[in-house]
Symmetry: D2
């Protein structure tokens, strides 16, 4: 049981400068805490609640920024894709390809991601039981790719609300693949602001602490220098300035969790 | 308030002969009952629970079959698509393009479907509140397409279970777009058989009768000569032989519902 | 399959005059439509969301009013009880004793109600699956009482929200006991107004029509001359003036439903 | 922020010897770990899924056992009650009176418990949002009693399933009252075995660890020397022999959680 890895970054790439500012700050925080870091950012938000939501800078502008973060800062990079074409375009340019939750059952997309050779991180659909992720992973495994991550990000609970079932973490871990807790998307209120998703960032540390104490391979957190000004997911992102305290807490909890591994086998 | 239209057919095209047999039988039933019919069938099941599930005959083999059903039988045809490329490929070949529930938030797919000029039927995601469908429809409307259908097919309710909230029907109707009840997918037990979705076809008439009594523009029913032998969705499809009795019941209920239109405005 | 019976009345007895005014109006409506009527009213709201909610006139003042409604108007009366002592007190004074949803698993209360000799109507708990009501009914049956009604009134669906699963109606009917649809409590938003439950009466006809089309023995509707002034459940009660139109609709739907009985056996 | 307190014991009192055996074992474990202990046991299971479920030894036989555990072992005792009469009967005989989840909205019961002078622990109903517990506590506070505990034990999530929303813990804590996590009832599958509730004890440590890492005043755990032979709640009780390891884990997590208190204020 390896120590906790942090997957973090702003929801979307807003500009080269913004991306590098976030990446540098996170790199310093992770180094200070002595934990691993994967930088996360999206080039296209393809499923915004409404047309009015800003979608991002696009793939062409994102690729050189990914390269700079990998090259100059030495950070592995994760991004999410929505079509097979995007898989091919980002395959060599990032370390981890992420399948969005809504798309976690799209067979061709999973297989394309599997064939890319990148690590594949699949978000569990809000409509999926944790034990059904074994079928999702099997689609990727069928390509010979054995670097798969499974991410919890909340399940539908009535309307405009998600709930995180902590039992999902050991259930997914029983597949043998590392499990990640996405603590910021799990506090979304999907569609909860009419034309946009709401959320409540005060609860992200609640879910992060809980999941780490159960035992996870990694923690996924969206963070931003000024979340209330962010073009997407602002209500649930954590301010960059709050990250060091959260990292300290989860690092301490992780040490205990890894000393006493929980298993449901 | 126009009389109820039936959208029906087997889940997937199994062969030319099978498709025509189903289409002819349904055409005769609809004619006998004096109700409108749109023939539904899929050429590719792109999001099966597991890799082992059969996906269908593919688009190339499906196109001549769609043409024959439209040409020889004179039935309008509906099929579902999963990528923008498929939208372009089926645009002239079918009357209604259907957006699957898992994909109902994918902006580019909705816009491509809108631009095709076909009628666009969007299934409400299992993770979506009915009032959020107004944003989905707006993405299609932004293309100038004003032939949109919104379909209820159940909402996530705990694990491996869907529930149909009948309040969703007038809520979606308040958008102004015709609302369809998909009574067979709504009785699915998603992933409920481990490597496949289960379901319980005994409840499809329950949901069909309820929805028609509330008031809907159309009823979507998957049906098959021998559902237990079907390659997909067998547990929830209704046997073809049971359709005439169900059509008779919903036709009678529809007459009353349309005489007393319900509105929440 | 007998024709639909209506169980109706204001949520709580506000005064003798108010109760008689409602009862007379409902009696005239039921007579005009030719359907059976049971008058419903509560003497004590024992589980209000907050202490500030008005609880009702109490048992002592209610008993003569029940007697007058039974004697002078000739209507059978239903009321709900919360303790074994109340069962004994109302046993001879009403025709139907109702077990509230929150209390549907309290064994001693069910047995006391069973022993009273009255008809016992049990509301299904918001936390209970429909197939579990067979165990609830068995507790009453164990007393030798074979006059049992089972009522659907919605299931918990996330926070402050109920959803009515129409499949629950035939599932409960498979026990052999008559099934009632409570269309007004099912549109409650429990606790949805902070210190009181909210609701949306616009959806009560939606659920009433849906349930009757599926097939139920009776329809339970709370109604009031001026719901917005009612001391409890105002947001979901239907105005008395709207009852005749609703009765007409459900009577027509019931005739079709009873001609085509649905069974899941 | 005081250290974690353990509330533990077998679901029901099976006999004097059994109760004392459990109490002595737990006392030794708590002493070894240096944490506080309240002994929990029920004298009557008043809401079993079915009549066939064993209800317990009854109040008369329980009172001397409670006295012996308090007197000889010096442990505070918690038990649950279902009627106002039971409140009066146990008032002087136990330290904590517990209101069962199904009864958490019964005003008279809450007030009687408040007036008893005992500490009152209210389980949050499976049908209640965490923010609605403030109204429940206010009913008890109205009696002048200011020793109130609020307990999370899972929320309805579809049929026969509970889910624990860890956000409920800080939401309830914002009332100012200490919050307890009931980690064994929260893994129940209500009614999940037909005539009895199922459950899965493997997940109790998952929820216990998660809740303690978020921060709770106490942890409620039902435990038994041989859970598979227990007359109630066997599937979710933890074997006594597994308690020391769990106590060690939660104690370590609690130390970190209390050093970094989470607040949503």
């Amino acid at each position: 049981d390896l120590p906790l890895v942090l997957i973090a970054g702003p929801c979307q790439i807003e500009s080269r400068d913004h991306a590098l500012e976030c990446a540098e700050a996170l790199k310093a925080m992770a180094a200070a805490a002595g934990i691993g870091l994967i930088y996360k950012s999206s080039f296209d938000k393809a499923n915004r609640t409404s047309l009015a939501g800003r979608r991002g800078i696009g793939l062409d502008k994102a690729l050189p920024i990914f390269a700079e973060i990998r090259g100059r800062l030495g950070l592995p990079v994760l991004t999410d894709i929505h079509t097979e074409e995007q898989v091919h375009a980002v395959a060599g340019a990032v370390d981890v390809i992420q399948i969005p939750a809504f798309l976690c059952r799209q067979t061709d997309l999973l297989i394309a991601a599997g064939r890319s050779g990148a690590v594949v991180n699949v978000k569990k659909g809000q409509f999926l039981a944790p034990w059904d992720m074994v079928n999702v992973a099997a689609k990727i495994e069928s390509t010979g790719n054995s670097r798969i991550l499974l991410t919890e990000r909340g399940a539908s609970f009535g309307y405009n609300t998600l709930v995180t079932d902590m039992r999902a973490l050991p259930i997914m871990a029983a597949t043998g693949w590392p499990v990640i807790m996405d603590a910021t998307h799990a506090v979304q209120a999907p569609g909860g602001q009419g034309g946009a998703s709401g959320g409540d960032r005060r609860f992200a540390p609640v879910l992060a602490r809980a999941a780490v104490a159960v035992g996870v391979a990694g923690l996924f957190i969206e963070t931003h220098p000024d979340p209330d000004q962010a073009p997407s997911d602002g209500p649930n992102m954590i301010p960059l300035a709050a990250m060091p305290a959260l990292i300290e807490q989860v690092k301490a909890l992780d040490a205990i969790a890894k000393r006493h591994p929980l298993s449901i086998a």
